[in-house]
């Protein structure tokens, strides 16, 4: 079980310890995504993340398994929150162990790039000025995900 989808805040330290306890390797790459305080729309107060329970976990499990096959990973862990996220809170954490650093970097980036467009999460931004805005999917994210599919980064 290397996927954790939860509403409560999580500790990055604790997640890294859990990954370390379950696996090893020469290189560990982690990504932590935090709530931005600014978007193209203005200053952000908070975020609400909706997800599709069940499908989310399955997509993330499959994504981790795909990364293991593709980049010869030794271990991985994905943590993603849903619900209301406050400023400075981590939203997502991905940790990836491999025998070589290049594989660890590629594996972690592949998971993040693919998660963005394949995991059923939807973000709603609560702006400082009171507006509430559903975040639009970025063309750039779709292009990155396609580039991985086509093996552009290898």
């Amino acid at each position: 079980m290397s996927v954790l989808v939860q509403e409560a805040p999580f500790s990055v330290d604790q997640q890294q310890s859990l990954l370390l306890a379950s696996t090893g390797g020469a290189g560990l790459v982690t990504f932590t995504g935090y709530l931005r305080d600014f978007s193209a729309q203005g200053a952000i107060e908070a975020l609400e993340l909706e997800h599709y329970p069940g499908m989310t976990e399955r997509v993330l499990e499959e994504l981790g398994a795909a990364a293991v096959n593709r980049f010869a990973l030794r271990g991985w862990r994905i943590v993603h929150r849903y619900g209301r996220i406050e400023q400075q809170d981590p939203i997502v954490w991905v940790g990836v162990f491999a025998d070589h650093r290049h594989e660890a970097f590629a594996g972690c980036q592949f998971i993040m790039d693919t998660l963005k467009t394949k995991a059923p999460f939807w973000k709603k931004e609560f702006m400082r000025d009171g507006r509430v805005i559903w975040v639009q999917a970025k063309l750039e994210d779709t292009e990155r995900e396609h580039a991985w599919q086509e093996g552009v980064y290898e």
Binding site: E50, Y52, P120, W122
Partner: protein, 84 residues
Amino acid sequence: MLTVRFFSLIREALNCEELQVEHHASLLTLDDLKDNLVESGGEQWREALYQPNVVHALNQRVVNTDHELKDGDEVAFFPPMTGG
């Protein structure tokens, strides 16, 4: 029965999170189900379900709308995902 779920913008536009639809023989594909929902729901439903970029999931996997349905299936409609 089919379970039909809506998320994000589409859920809000329809003011509906989930509904059950009886699985008729005429509901052969996801396209048929959409037509059926729009027929009973009206213009608001047409607008929400036929906006560009709607993603369709069948039993929690993204599929094309020509995918066939069977009794007990779970269908979901949602906008492009914005995780991470």
